[in-house]
Every structure is written in C-alpha cells, then in structure tokens.
Amino acid sequence: MTFTIPIENGDAVKIAEAESQRTLYPYVTGTSIVAIKYKDGVLMASDMGGSYGSTLRYKNIERMKAIGKHSLLGASGEISDFQEILRYLDELTLNDNMWDDGNSLGPKEIHNYLTRVMYNRRNKFNPLWNTLVLGGVKNGKSYLGMVSMIGVSFEDDHVATGFGNHLARPILRDEWHADLSFEDGVKLLEKCMRVLLYRDRSAINKLQIAKITEEGVTVSQPYSLKTFWEYSSFHNPTASAEGSW
C-alpha cells in the first residue's frame, strides 16, 4: 500500500496515507438496538435502516446476526465496521469449531473477546465505530451485554444503544421484570421501537425481532409497526412553545 515517492520529506506522504487508514468518522450508520432478557433467553430488536448522514439510504440492512451456536450480535454505528467484526468473529468461531472437542465459545467469552478488540482499536486511535449488543444462552444461563466503540463494556438485564438509551431504557426500567413471556417481551420491545420510530429521525418503519434461546437463534421476517399520527400535539406541535418549529 505504501510506496516511496522521491520527495524531500518522504515521511509526510506515509503519514498522510496512514491518516487515511484510520477511522475518523462514520459514513453509513445503523441506529438503535434494544434488547432484553426474558424467560427463555434474550430478545433483541432493530430496524433495517442504514443512514448516509441525514439520508435514509439503505432500507434492508440486517443489523443482528447469529454467532456460533449460543450468541446473537446486534450493532449500531458504522455498518462496514460491523461487517469487519463479523469477519473477526467468523474466524474465531471457525477456529473454535476446528478443535472439535465438545467445547464451544459461549456469549460471555464472545462478549469479552469483543471488549478486548474494541478497546485495543480505541487505544490505537482507530476505533471500530460501533456499539455492540451481545446476547446469548448457554447451559441454561442467559447473558446480555454491551460494548461501546471506546471499549466500555457491561452486562445488564436490558440494554440499548444510541437513542435507545434515552428513549427506550426509561420504559424498560419501569416495565421490565424477570421471566417475561415471549409475547410480553415482544410487546415491550415493540413499545420501545415505536417511540424510537416517532422520535429518532434515523429510524425507519421496518424492523426485525430476534430471539435466542437454548435451542438457537431465530430472526423474524421484517415487519412494520402501526403508527398513529393524529395526536393533538402532533397537530399543533408548537402550541406550548411559541416561536419553535
């Protein structure tokens, strides 16, 4: 990739090229992911949009993928970096399978591996511009965790990324409880996704819900939420705030 150009300050060219190799800002991004633990495992929801700045450019992006036998990864942020992460994990799970010894990487191991990767990239000032949600079930134990682009990582009963943190988590804090049934879990996630649809401008009305249980991963077909635009405050939005728009 680097070839020497015979100029005086030869290093300047190399440095300039090196600069263009680091991630400076994201280009095609996915918005929030919302995920909760429920009775049989973990439920995760995301829309299928890929924004190019303020343009809602791509409308068929799957932002949740199964990893190995026991885990489900959802990502918001730069889509190309998500694809890179999927390649890393593909290699990881392939090598894990090649051992062929009855052991397999569970969600906890994958979460920690990703934390290491994200943190190391951040230290090199070349981050993978994603916030990742890792959910899974192994040996009957459910696991749900999150890693950010700077390597902050933690586990919780419910997590969300991006706008989801501000709009969805308050709902989850009030209404989530342990051992939700599948139907209640989906209803709760749809409630969160609906709020995000109304209020997050990079959200589109085409979403998928994925579930992971001891049996494995299922990602639903894409579908849309019913919306209602006839709220009185939508009719006259600036009634209580003169001068705003």
């Binding site: 051992w99 010894d101 009855g102 052991n103 990487l105 906890k108 191991e109 920690n112 290491r116």
Partner: protein, 277 residues
Amino acid sequence: MFRNQYDTDVTTWSPTGRLFQVEYAMEAVKQGSAAIGLRSRSHVVLACVNKAQSELSSHQRKIFKVDDHIGVAIAGLTADGRVLSRYMRSESINHSFTYESPLSVGRLVVRLADKAQVCTQRSWKRPYGVGLLVGGLDESGAHLYYNCPSGNYFEYQAFAIGSRSQAAKTYLERRYESFQESSREDLIKDAIMAIRETLQGETLKSSLCTVSVLGVEEPFHFLDQESIQKVIDTFEKVPEEEEDAGEGEAEPEAALVAAGTGEQGGSGDQDVAPMEM
C-alpha cells in the same frame, strides 16, 4: 536400548521407522521420581514422591498450579518441566484475560503437545525430557492427561510416571474402575496408596510425598502434611516405632521386606543424574 548409528540427532529416522532421540527423551522421564494422577467425575488428585538431592537440601517441586482449575505433575528433567509449566500458566492466563473464562484442559494439552512436537522436528532443538500429568476441570468434567516428550498425549482415568511407576500402575489397574464414582477422600487415599507402592518397602511418611487436589468448587491446592499423615494413619496398621527409621524398615503387612536385597531406598539412586528428579 543400545547406541546405534541413527541416534545422533532427532531428525534422523532409523530404518525401522524410529526416532531414537525421542525415545531417549522418554527414558529420561522414567528416571525421574514417581508422579501419580487419578480422576473421578468431579475431582483430580496429583501426587508425587518427594526426592531431595541430599539430606542437606530441600526436595524438588514436582507439582505446579497452572490455574485454579488445572494442575500439573512432572517427572524427568525438572528444568524442562518448570519451563513448560510457565508456558501453560501463560496460555491459561491469556485465555482468561481475553475470554474471561477458564481454558479447557483439552485445548491446553493439545498446545503443549504441539510445542513438544516441534522439538522432534528441528535439527537445532532437542525434545523436552519431561513427562507431564495434567489434571484439570472444565465444562466437560474432570480430566487427566499425560503429555509425552514425543508430542503425544493421552487421556487417563489414572496413571503413574517416573521410576518404579509400574508398581503404582499395577495398583491403579486393580482399582481404576471404582475411581469415576469415587469420593474425594477415597481418591486421595488411593493416590497415597499408589505412592506407597512406588516406595517399595520404605515407610510411608507424609514428608515423603506431596499431594494436590482440585475439583468442582475446589480450586487447585496442596494438602498439608497433617492431612496427608491422617490419611496414611488410616491404613498403616502399625505406626512406626521410631520416627526416623531411615531406609529399609519393613511394614508388617508388606511382603517386601527390605533386608539387603539390593533395593535402593528413596534417595539412594547413584545412577540418576543430578538434574533429573
């Protein structure tokens, strides 16, 4: 085994398809003092005979903790054993750091075996002269493996290596079918009894052996001398009259009376090289 023209370096095959240097390395394991491992469904016990260079020195350490869930007992060149234990600790801790999860024993022994194999296929290296009994616990249960200088590894219910290990193996062969369902205490007792077999006549004292245990909800640790002596007392029918009886004191129930039959006591091996323990 006799010297021949194909045994000079490890990269020379003999016409019968043998690598003599590797086999000589396995001989080194047989010269070391005995190490024994046994496992049940939930526990692994590693035990060894303490051998001191002389009366003035302390005995060599032959059992190492690799991690809370893995321990290793060695026989042969202890220096090689120490280096490999350090490698195992390193692999284990790196895995824990990246995945926050204990390394499964099976994968550790494969890496160890591959490392040993490299030394059998480079002209500028020599095989490791140490046999390792790796005992550990992971998701799939308790395991005991034996890693050979040749780069082979095998899984065992129970095994013994080192000098006079055949006596211990005979004892273990009689009893191994009960080990899988054995209780922790019985497993420890069997290990110490197997050690006694390798001593062949010498009185069994807790100072002569080192015993370590690991199991479900029990991280790897050594048993203290008191606990070992207690177990010994349960099957030594007649306690010793004199504490420091020295070599050759016969146990009443053992038929192996050590009356000048040319047996060597624990520390009388003149033909063992100083570096081998």
